[in-house]
């Protein structure tokens, strides 16, 4: 048990903070997935593709500005909106015709869309690895009590609560959020009181995809941007949504925290078998709460 002797309080805190910042990305992406799943009842497998698209767009926009720090900020600001626009077009032309179909059809359709997106990315950006540096101000790390806290991860950590509060405000306090929640419960009734459900759905879908694009743009400086990044993420995002409770945005937050923290803590405690930890937790949660930790909207 050599590794136990190396565990220190500082190491635990440091690992906890890195895990939290990873949870932030997972939360942003899976809350979008959960929103679409809860309101539109679409298991959107192509959600990961939009995340990948967000990362590639952020890279391309930043490289238009010579990869300067300003370029990254502009990329981060614009890429999610570009992804949202793409999703709006997809929703109006394709998804809106499919809402009444059974889930299996929708699953197959979004799967096909995922394959198309992957090839589109390959045609546009090629299959080489892309790399984007974080802005100069967020490079390197702070040294606090011997702990090494990467600046970019702290930035992600600070951003998480804003996204969570923004989502809470949108779904609980705005009119369209209330309508969307009502539509999630009974879409026929909402239609019956004279609301154009189709546009409510479009709005929710675009918000969900915006979050995927935002997650992709945020993650771009921390990893290499390549064609495989969609499928690693979509698996994790679905697991998070399932353990949190299908369609429940707060469930996604809880799931992302559990997933991100067990992942990073597992790496600290038992690095050789760290891959197993988050999945083991998913299994345990599903044994005791088969419908997820929080109330599912399905």
């Amino acid at each position: 048990m050599d590794w136990l002797s190396t565990l220190t309080a500082g190491g635990l805190v440091q690992q906890f903070i890195v895990g939290l910042s990873r949870s932030t990305i997972l939360f942003i992406v899976s809350s979008g997935l959960s929103l679409v799943l809860g309101v539109l009842r679409i298991p959107n497998v192509a959600h990961g593709s939009l995340y990948m698209l967000g990362a590639f767009l952020c890279f391309s926009i930043a490289s238009l500005f010579d990869n300067s720090s300003m370029g990254f900020w502009i990329g981060l600001a614009l890429a999610p909106f570009c992804v949202a626009f793409v999703s709006l077009v997809a929703e109006r032309t394709l998804f809106s015709r499919l809402y009444d179909r059974e889930h299996l059809m929708l699953l197959l359709f979004t799967f096909a869309l995922m394959l198309l997106c992957r090839d589109a990315v390959k045609i546009i950006w090629g299959s080489e690895y892309r790399s984007l540096a974080p802005p100069v101000a967020l490079q390197g790390s702070f040294s606090v009590f011997g702990m090494l806290l990467p600046k970019y991860n702290l930035f992600l950590l600070g951003l998480g609560p804003f996204v969570a509060v923004g989502l809470w405000f949108l779904t609980q306090k705005t009119k369209i959020g209330k309508i969307a929640r009502a539509a999630a419960v009974d879409r026929d009734m909402v239609g019956a009181v004279g609301i154009n459900v189709s546009w409510v759905f479009a709005f929710v879908f675009v918000i969900g995809c915006f979050l995927a694009g935002l997650g992709g743009a945020l993650v771009a400086p921390t990893q290499n941007i390549n064609q495989g990044m969609d499928h690693t993420l979509i698996m994790e995002a679905f697991l998070i949504v399932i353990i949190g409770g299908l369609g429940n945005v707060w469930g996604a937050l809880l799931g992302a925290l559990i997933f991100g923290l067990t992942d990073s803590m597992g790496i600290l405690v038992w690095p050789q078998f760290s891959i197993v930890f988050p999945y083991a937790v998913v299994v345990i949660v599903l044994i005791f709460r088969p419908t997820g930790l929080l109330k599912s909207t399905w």
Binding site: G11, E128, S131, Q139, I267, P271
Partner: protein, 406 residues
């Protein structure tokens, strides 16, 4: 009427097949079939090999060719897949009538094609596969390896690292065959040379792991003296990027085999971390010999970029082929294989010899440390230390042992 139409059609088809299967090879050329990965991320390595090969081939042909014949080549893309590589190899032998096969970057493809080469008695020269099984356990008369292998990497890294003051090590890498082979190679040899080294722990992540930050911070809390990073093609660049972003390279020294290679450092530009220890068989700026300067000059003139190790492999592979045929005296597979075994030629990194008992090219290794140097828009290796080929090649006993064990 219908029947006659069908028979005309059948006649046409068979005519096409007959015409196609007529040997395309002209009598006055030696045809090399190159199988490699020309699509996807590994293609940048494969294209470097091909350009180096073309450079040498054009020069050989300009000065009269080999045995009065011209060298020529055809390429096939294996898309990094074993089945495709094997089909291409068969097609090259049957339809293109190639005299020998060259390739590939994927060790699994190399091993599969090597099996075919053994059956068909056709020479196969591996360019970028790094598995030590190619010329070790699975070696035979017709297969040659022009690249370093995981055993050689292990020995060279162990020799280099043993001269540094590190005692407590951590091993981290991609959880697949190459990652473990490199890590085991380095560690086993290091323990032999310097018995007091300790292994504090290991981290293995899945191939294609998106985020290395949690792994890096966990290694930081363990505070080893140095880390051996065993990442393959896909993991090198993102790991170095994460090391730079977190400031890891400034806290703990790390060794990564390919860290100082041009193919790794060029894509990272000035975002690469400084102070990373790496081994490579070639730098375009080292050794500073006239032969190397001439090679770099010619390569830059032809392709407008610096040559990588891959370019050098392609270059000397073509030269080895030419010299082996001249020594054999005629275009014959068996004679060629016998001639190439133990053959030496002069190269930009000095004279190189093909191993007598395993057909593995005996390459020296250079260990360097990444550094920003004015004049380059990417990092280069500094404090370069040469590890001679004799110290890292597999011995006759090791080859015998490996081949008996299979």
């Amino acid at each position: 009427m219908k029947r006659s139409l069908i028979s005309i059609f059948a006649l046409f088809i068979s005519a096409v097949i007959v015409v196609w299967s007529v040997p395309v090879q002209a009598a006055d050329e030696i045809k090399v079939g190159i199988i490699d990965t020309y699509s996807g991320p590994p293609s940048s390595y494969a294209l470097d090999v091909l350009d180096g090969f073309k450079l040498a081939m054009n020069k050989i042909n300009a000065s009269g060719g080999v045995l009065g014949k011209k060298l020529a080549y055809v390429t096939r893309d294996d898309k990094f897949k074993v089945d495709l590589g094997l089909t291409s190899a068969k097609e090259l032998i049957m339809r293109e009538n190639v005299n020998l096969l060259v390739g590939t970057i994927n060790s699994a493809v190399s091993l599969a094609v090597s099996d075919l080469a053994k059956k068909e008695k056709i020479p196969f020269i591996v360019t970028y596969g790094k598995s030590s099984n190619i010329t070790g356990a699975k070696g035979h008369k017709f297969v040659f390896n022009m690249n370093e292998n995981t055993e050689m990497i292990g020995k060279a890294a162990a020799i280099g690292l043993s001269k540094r003051p590190f005692v407590k090590y951590w091993i981290a890498g991609d959880d697949y065959e190459y990652g473990h082979a490199v890590a085991d190679g380095v560690w086993n040899h290091l323990k032999k040379i310097k018995p007091d080294v300790q292994l504090m722990g290991q981290s293995w992540w899945k191939v294609g792991e998106p985020d290395f930050t949690p792994y890096i911070t966990s290694i930081l809390s363990a505070k080893p003296d140095a880390v051996i990073v065993a990442t393959g093609g896909a993991g090198c660049i993102p790991f170095l990027k994460a090391a730079k972003n977190t400031g890891f390279n400034e806290k703990i020294p790390m060794f990564m085999h390919t860290a100082t290679e041009l193919s790794t450092l060029r894509p990272l530009g000035l975002d690469a971390p400084e102070g990373v220890i790496g081994t490579s068989n070639y730098y375009f700026y080292f050794p500073e010999t006239d032969a190397n300067k001439v090679f770099v000059e010619e390569f830059r003139k032809a392709y407008d970029r610096y040559p990588s190790f891959g370019s050098l492999i392609g270059w000397y592979t073509a030269n080895f082929i030419a010299k082996a045929y001249e020594k054999a005296g005629k275009v014959d597979a068996e004679k060629f294989a016998e001639a190439l075994t133990g053959l030496s030629i002069d190269t930009p990194i000095g004279p190189l010899t093909v191993g007598k008992f395993d057909n593995q090219l005996m390459l020296p290794m250079f260990m360097g440390v990444t550094k920003k140097v004015a004049g380059y828009d990417f990092l280069i290796a500094s404090e370069i230390m040469t590890i001679p080929a004799q110290e890292i090649v597999t011995t006759e006993e090791e080859v015998k042992k490996a081949r008996e064990q299979k």
